[in-house]
């Protein structure tokens, strides 16, 4: 037993190394606090910077999201002779609604008959239709202010889904729906400008407008709409009614049925890629898809610039924190050379001294890292609160922060530890043991 006991090299349990390091730190808590201050600030800055970057990034993203395109426009490419009717499947609205991210979809075309389309509040004498064609819009506009005026107003034929896709809001009345569409009801929805021009302010009593002398009951007045700019100036009637009255859209007259899809913010790009396949699985390329350009690229640049700037500053401050631990540990090791000499004399191997010193600096770094992470999170919350942002902190920024502090401490401890391990006990013990 004696043989074994003495032959064994001396050893230091890792728990004991940590314990000794902790005790050594606790003996001089003020020094530990001052030492860890550098790391604390470094880590705090790192966490704050990254957290604020993600918070600001999330804020910027949500700010940009309001500007993201939400409309997708699809029109058939001109291919040969005019199709007999609307070039979309009959259930196009249902098919598109099944796509993820689609809120509403519908098609429309401007009513063009190869002659002016006259919209008026009263029936017009049959001859005036052709007479008005010569002087065009100016005459129509001049008379537009008077009630009962006839107008050279755009007329839009649209499926009920189009009104939803254009996010049409009404000031009074109702939208036309599938029933109106199915029964070719002679009804229409008038844009704000068109309604005012036709002398219609309220629908308290039934109002009728005449489109080329065909009566249509005005069932709704638009207050706001997105999508085609012309809605406010136009009269919109069900597409089936328009086909029943005037035939299918005449492509040669420029009346091209266009699909309008309203998507959720951010989904427009995906919908734009998928929609042609929904419309025609065998020939998706016969459709032309238009997507208003979004601010996505700009947003990406802004965020990545911010983040890399914050990162750089974080690294710099962490490096400063590491240097501060290194210098204080160095001084502390020099001051305690007699203690390390004593430890060597009573059986500590060089590696035990190295472990001891690195444990000390790692613990100081860890303390700095923990305190810094807390301080950083607190700062993020305060700043976000002050700016009215929602604080967004990724766990991946906060959780490694104490580890980063400890790593900084370990790096900081390496050189002082090597120094401590080279202390000659005989020489060091001629000095008095400090503290």
């Amino acid at each position: 037993m004696i043989r074994r006991r003495i032959r064994q090299p001396t050893r230091l349990r890792s728990a004991d190394a940590i314990g000794e390091a902790c005790t050594a730190i606790l003996v001089k808590p003020a020094r530990a606090v001052v030492t860890s201050l550098g790391t604390l600030l470094g880590v705090a800055w790192f966490v704050t910077a990254l957290g604020l970057a993600s918070t600001a990034g999330a804020h910027v993203t949500s700010a940009f999201a309001h500007r993201l395109p939400t409309h997708v426009w699809i029109s058939p490419k001109r291919a040969g002779p005019a199709p007999a009717a609307v070039p979309y499947p009959a259930d196009v609205q249902q098919r598109l609604r099944a796509l993820h991210g689609v809120v509403a979809a519908g098609f429309f075309w401007p009513l063009r008959l190869g002659r002016p389309v006259i919209v008026s509040a009263r029936p017009q004498p049959a001859t005036e239709g052709s007479a008005g064609a010569a002087d065009g819009g100016t005459a129509g506009n001049r008379r537009a202010s008077g009630p009962g005026a006839s107008r050279h107003a755009p007329v839009i034929a649209a499926s009920p889904g189009f009104l939803a896709a254009a996010a049409v809001q009404l000031s009074s009345g109702r939208l036309f729906d599938a029933w109106d569409q199915a029964h070719h009801a002679q009804v229409c929805v008038a844009g704000t400008v068109a309604a005012r021009a036709l002398g219609i302010r309220t629908l308290r009593k039934q109002r009728t407008v005449y489109i080329n002398n065909v009566p249509c009951v005005v069932i709704g007045i638009v207050s706001s709409a997105s999508g085609p700019q012309s809605i406010q100036r136009s009269v919109v009637l069900p597409s089936a009614t328009a086909i029943a009255l005037w035939g299918p859209p005449d492509e040669r007259a420029g009346a091209m049925p266009v699909l309008l899809i309203l998507t959720r913010p951010g989904a427009a790009g995906m919908v734009a890629r998928q929609a042609p396949y929904v419309l025609s699985q065998d020939r998706p390329d016969q459709f032309l898809v238009r997507l208003p350009p979004g601010p996505g690229a700009l947003r990406g640049q802004v965020i990545s610039t911010l983040t890399s700037l914050f990162y750089a500053l974080g690294w710099v401050s962490l490096a400063i924190g590491t240097l501060s631990i290194a210098s204080v540990t160095w001084l502390s090791v020099r001051e305690r050379s007699a203690e390390f000499g004593l430890r060597r004399a009573v059986g500590a191997r060089r590696r035990h001294i190295v472990a001891h010193v690195i444990c000390e600096s790692a613990i100081v770094g860890l303390i700095g890292g923990l305190a810094g992470a807390s301080l950083g999170v607190a700062t993020i919350i305060l700043v976000a609160h002050a700016r009215g942002w929602v604080p967004v902190v990724a766990p991946l920024t906060v959780l490694p922060a104490p580890v980063a502090g400890a790593a900084a401490g370990i790096m900081a401890g390496i050189i002082p530890a090597m120094f401590a391990a080279r202390i000659q006990p005989a020489e060091a013990l001629t000095r008095s043991l400090a503290a």
Binding site: Q8, E20, E339, P425, A435
Partner: protein, 274 residues
């Protein structure tokens, strides 16, 4: 050398030869020799000397004249040897050499029959930690740590768990009569008690060799007498004790007293006072 040949240990020869061969070609560790050296029953006196210096000298790097030159010294198990001599005569250097804190720059040193001059740091540290206890001129306690913590320090590196360490330390404190101050901070104790704690620290690991470098220098007479009494009682408990001292009382209790003069130029041989 004479004692070697008288001992009649035939088996020792091949091992020694093996060791020489090993160290001759710069091999790492003379394992079997180390083993044999350490299996010597160190608690009972034997023909094998505990310490055997042969022409050992130390010259500090960067200095021309040696701090210790060509010392021949043999100490047997269970002896209490005092080293006397004027300050700067090399007593401390000699104790550092014996205590494996210094390597001799000339000559050789056999500890319990093992050539330790060429041993690696790992083994020298192991021998230092497990065989040797030491007391310095100043108590050299960690002032902000408790008495118990200080005494536990050597056993820490023996790899014992904390409860066992505390037991060993408490037993050592008991032996020096300081168990009642176990939980006091080291700096709160008077100098004499601090030195007794330092002795407790030195014996906590049950070393077979205790080296004391002028342990009574900073103490008043009463405290000094207590410390000397303690060392004498440890010696009677079969620990080999080397004391460098100017204290006459210590010299009076010792089995022999060796005078070291400047440069330690080999005045040791057979310098018995008793």
């Amino acid at each position: 050398m004479a004692t070697e040949s008288l001992s009649g240990r035939g088996a020792a020869r091949p091992t020694r030869a093996l060791q020489a061969a090993l160290s001759g070609r710069g091999a790492a560790r003379p394992t079997r020799a180390l083993e044999r050296a350490l299996t010597q029953p160190i608690s009972r006196p034997s023909a094998q000397p505990l310490i055997e210096l042969r022409g050992a000298g130390v010259t500090y790097p960067g200095q021309r004249s040696p701090a210790l030159s060509a010392v021949d010294l043999t100490v047997r198990h269970g002896e209490l040897v005092t080293l006397t001599g004027p300050p700067g005569s090399g007593k401390s250097t000699l104790l550092s050499l014996i205590g494996l804190l210094l390597r001799p720059t000339t000559g050789s040193y056999l500890l319990n029959g093992l050539e330790v001059t060429t041993l690696g740091d790992r083994d020298r540290t192991a021998l230092r930690g497990r065989m040797i206890g030491r007391v310095f001129q100043r108590p050299q306690l960690l002032a902000s740590r408790s008495v118990l913590d200080n005494v536990m320090l050597p056993v820490l590196y023996a790899g014992l768990r904390r409860p066992q360490r505390a037991n060993a330390a408490a037993a050592a404190l008991e032996r020096v009569g300081m168990a009642h101050r176990m939980h006091a901070l080291a700096r709160e104790l008077p100098a004499g008690e601090q030195q007794r704690v330092a002795i407790a620290r030195a014996i906590a690991g049950n070393p077979s060799l205790l080296l004391c470098d002028d342990p009574t220098a900073s103490l008043d007479d009463v405290a000094a007498a207590q410390v000397i009494g303690l060392l004498v009682s440890l010696h009677k408990g079969s620990t080999t004790v080397l004391v460098a001292t100017r204290d006459q009382l210590a010299a009076a209790h010792s089995s022999r007293s060796l005078a070291v003069d400047r440069g330690g130029s080999g005045k040791f041989a057979g310098d018995f006072s008793q």
